[in-house]
């Protein structure tokens, strides 16, 4: 409790610190220097990118808050939970806070992400507004999983939405596209808030109070429960970036500053999953099977749609954004399967599925924090996020490249990465569904496994593209040519996230017992996974040992070159030209780009993606047969956006332009509107009563 309170307090302190005036970097300014020296200091600052002391202090305090929150979360998972009621803080119900194992898990993840992002943010010299809002955003993220009442939950949720919106908007002066992205984000997140608000208020109306304990025992009709579940699911899915409510995600991430997107992707989207688990499995205590079919189907759809678009994307952050949709889809498959099994009475399987889902939340937070930090570093160093213009960063940014490689390995769910462990658990839980579930399971589970399998394959291709095209080979653009390694704090932030990834990848058995506590809270069915070195499933036969696989791989990697070295007679490598077919030196224009890398896959999935291309041929003035310029444009539009959102937006615009005729500036007409409306209402009321 005290740790958590300290974490919140430090967030506020960091925000206050950032409010202090910083005319010039304090390290350069002699104490008591007159303000007139500011101009000189300004020039010095422009020449040397020294970071101001206040930025350093603010970042350090935020990181400390994150570390405290992580410890508090882990303690809550290990059984040291607490609850508090502050009746005077908010009108009506007051603020109820409690940290149970489930909330503790999400608090701990948020804390960990915060530490990495805050350290990363120190070196990037963020704008003052960003420095103030980031700690507040972290505080909101900590508030949501600790809320123990509808009032506190909604307050934290809205604070989270508002602060993140401000952060998305932070760089609107530099890039005009940011404004549109922020508009999309604002609309989507607030529509989500409205549905969650309706659902939770409906739930609270049926109970004696707004505390979660009171909601758990509320007597509700099945129809009311259905309405509550579906409305809150819509809101939470919007936050988690689930198709078809994902449209804000690939826009908002690229718009946010470098160290904010890890916070959004690693910590904020998790809250959608938290909401589904908390409301669906905990407050409503499960429900009919069809609820979980919907969750499972949404998850499978998001996983496939997200990874397909990630495989096509050429913008690095957009790619990572779609990959978040994919991973949240995988998590929802696990949550859906857990609810499905629980409704079917197969407790141990349900516990296994939920364990897999929650472990994937943790793993995704770890590798996505790392990847988004690296993407932010790349953008700062090269000025572009376009993979088609990147490349050759291996020699220019060696640390960032190596760390991105770790993140990409984890994200593509290959051993020895951490994503592999959670996907393995997820597949195991789905594969063993047969005895428990009847025909419904026989139809659903193979399709879910097929979706996960296809996702896994495409994710590999996606991250080979992101890493191979973005970081290896030769630079494809001037930005990549001039790139230099990122500041030291950025590397520390990434290294911390990479260490977390490796720890999770090699020692999932150390994390799982604590995770099991969070699972047993909602599905009491014993521990689904045991083992120290080898991960063993308790109720079904299945085992795997990530650490031994990694050791065997490492051993083979040492033994094979040694063997070759022993046999080979010439040890020195000879530098040689690349094979250029004898046609002169290979230039960067001949390299494969991200677009060309993804082209075969685009052809395979042409029906699902429906790419667009246009060819403009400009002829010279004298003759139509002499071509001056040919311009080829291709893009892969978001089909959901095209089919679902654009018609709605167009209709709204038409309605707006149509309604404009009602307001022609005549005062008489406006007065008559008021008169007729009033009479109309009175008539209606008279008829009703």
């Amino acid at each position: 409790m005290t740790l958590y309170a300290w974490a919140l307090g430090l967030c506020l302190a960091a925000a206050l610190v950032a409010l202090l005036p910083t005319r010039a970097p304090a390290v350069l300014r002699p104490t008591g220097a007159p303000a007139a020296g500011g101009a000189v200091a300004e020039r010095v600052r422009a020449a040397t990118p020294t970071v101001g002391a206040i930025t350093v202090v603010g970042g350090a305090v935020t990181a400390a808050a994150g570390a405290l929150a992580a410890v508090a979360g882990v303690r809550a998972m290990l059984g040291h939970g607490w609850s508090a009621w502050l009746p005077d803080l908010l009108p009506l119900g007051g603020v109820r806070l409690a940290l149970d194992p489930l909330g503790g898990l999400f608090t701990a993840v948020t804390g960990g992400v915060t530490v990495c992002a805050a350290i990363h943010g120190i070196g990037s010299g963020p704008a003052r507004a960003t420095r103030v809002v980031v700690p507040l955003f972290v505080a909101a993220l900590l508030l949501v999983p600790a809320a123990d009442g509808v009032g506190a939950f909604l307050f934290g949720w809205e604070l989270m939405a508002m602060t993140s919106l401000l952060l998305v908007l932070a760089e609107h002066r530099e890039r005009p596209s940011v404004r549109k992205a922020a508009l999309w984000y604002a609309v989507m997140t607030h529509l989500g808030l409205v549905t969650i608000l309706c659902g939770l208020c409906y739930l609270a109306a049926g109970a004696v109070g707004d505390g979660f304990d009171q909601l758990r025992v509320a007597e509700l009709s099945p129809a009311a429960r259905n309405v509550i579940f579906l409305t809150t699911l819509a809101g939470f899915a919007a936050k988690a970036g689930i198709v078809p409510l994902h449209v804000w995600l690939p826009r908002a991430y690229p718009a946010a500053p470098g160290h904010v997107s890890p916070l959004m992707s690693g910590a904020m989207v998790n809250m959608g999953v938290y909401g589904v688990v908390r409301v669906g499995l905990d407050l409503l205590r499960g429900g009919p099977v069809w609820w979980w079919w919907i969750v499972l189907a949404l998850g499978a759809l998001s996983a496939l749609y997200g990874v397909l678009h990630a495989a096509m994307a050429t913008d690095l952050k957009r790619l990572l954004g779609y990959s978040s949709t994919e991973n949240m889809g995988l998590v929802l498959i696990g949550v859906g399967a857990a609810g499905f099994f629980a409704a079917d009475g197969a407790g141990p399987l349900a516990a296994l599925a939920l364990t897999a889902a929650l472990l994937h939340v943790v793993n995704h937070a770890a590798f996505k924090t790392l990847l988004f930090q690296a993407a932010g570093s790349v953008q700062r160093a090269t000025g572009t996020r376009d993979l088609d213009a990147l490349g050759g960063l291996r020699t220019r940014m060696p640390y960032t490249t190596a760390l991105f490689a770790i993140g990409a390995l984890c994200a593509s769910a290959l051993p020895p990465g951490n994503g592999f462990v959670s996907e393995w658990l997820l597949l195991q839980s789905l594969i063993h569904a047969l005895p428990a579930s009847g025909v419904a399971g026989a139809v659903t589970m193979p399709l879910a496994v097929g979706a996960i399998a296809l996702t896994a394959g495409l994710a590999v291709a996606t991250f080979v593209k992101a890493f191979g095209v973005g970081f290896l080979a030769r630079p494809r653009g001037p930005g990549a040519e001039r790139a230099a390694e990122s500041p030291r704090t950025a590397i520390y932030g990434m290294a911390l996230a990479a260490a977390a990834c490796l720890f999770l990848a090699l020692n999932p058995t150390l994390v799982l017992p604590a995770l099991t506590e969070a699972v047993t809270e909602v599905i009491p069915a014993g521990r689904p996974v045991t083992g120290e070195v080898t991960l063993r499933l308790t109720t079904i036969t299945g085992s795997i040992s990530p650490i031994l696989i990694a050791l065997a791989l490492a051993g083979a990697m040492v033994a094979v070159p040694a063997l070759v070295g022993a046999v080979a007679t010439r040890r020195v490598r000879r530098a040689a030209r690349l094979w250029d077919c004898g046609a002169g030196p290979v230039s960067a224009r001949m390299e494969y780009t991200a677009t060309s890398f993804a082209e075969p896959l685009q052809r395979v999935f042409v029906d699902a993606l429906q790419p667009e291309s246009a060819i403009d041929v400009t002829a010279v003035k004298e003759s139509a047969y002499l071509v001056r310029r040919v311009r080829f444009r291709a893009r892969v539009p978001d089909r959901v956006e095209r089919r679902l959102y654009e018609p709605v937006l167009a209709a709204a615009v038409r309605l707006g332009t149509g309604a404009r005729r009602l307001a022609d500036g005549s005062v008489h007409r406006y007065l008559s509107y008021g008169f007729y409306a009033l009479t109309g209402v009175l008539i209606v009321l008279a008829v009703i009563s």
């Binding site: 291996r394 597949l427 696989i549 094979w579 390299e591 494969y592 993804a598 052809r603």
Partner: protein, 308 residues
Amino acid sequence: MVLQLLVVAAGAPLLVGLMRQIRARLEGRAGAGVRQPWRDLRKLVRKEAIAPHGTGWLFRAAPPLLAGTTLVVAAAVPLVTADSPLDGVADLFAVAALLALGSVALALGGLDTGTAFGGMGASREMTVLALVEPTILLAVFALSIRVGTTDLGAIVIATASSPLSLISPVSLLAAVALAVVTIAESGRIPVDNPSTHLELTMIHEAMILEYAGPDLALIEWASAMRLTVMLGLFAGLFAPFGIATAGAGPIALLVAVVAFAVKVALLGGVLAAGEVFMAKLRLFRIPELLAGSFLMALLAVAASFFLA
């Protein structure tokens, strides 16, 4: 396990030699002999390694990583004995993922060169991999339902103890799906032609174009081992006869080695003979083939659910 590793490591080039010899004889050529791949490897190892301009650590790390993943897979899969010390460490999912890791390493090595060839090979390899992966996982799913686990040793022992289950629709469908996948993963006709250097068609060869000397020897050796392991795995899953179980004596192990060699040689012979009579598919027809195998695997799973 050591015996199994040695058998695979030493026998893999011989298998490739045998397949080339069969092809040569069927095409009316004399052929270079079964031991030719070993002679090639010896020649390559004696040459000097090349560091092409603009390549980095990933280019150098890819061949050992490919060979390393293949060795780990060869140790974990029940080829000669179902009682591997790595049993319980890696199941069928892990094996599939490790094989994919090897392909990824090679693709990154290809991309690292920055030539059009490297990128082209990597792009095509990843496309094939992305479509092969689901089929493998679904076929695994189908095979594991009967046994109740994805542990490879358990599947093999269960099949060996009840050979009649092999003629069930589940096994047959899964066998066809896995056969297509095996061909695709090991880069044989009709998916890829290992003996061509034509830009229009090549996948594997395009990725390794810049490698020379010991690096190339490692890649060739690892590719041969991958082929052997995959054929051995296929044989183990669908004809698990002769595989030694826990506590088997030296004679049983010897029998198992001979049985493994015969099975893999037979499968390799069939594959090589098939290649003579078949042309390579157009690159963009390959996804149709793989989609077909995916459908087979899905049918296998559905059949196993409804027949269980």
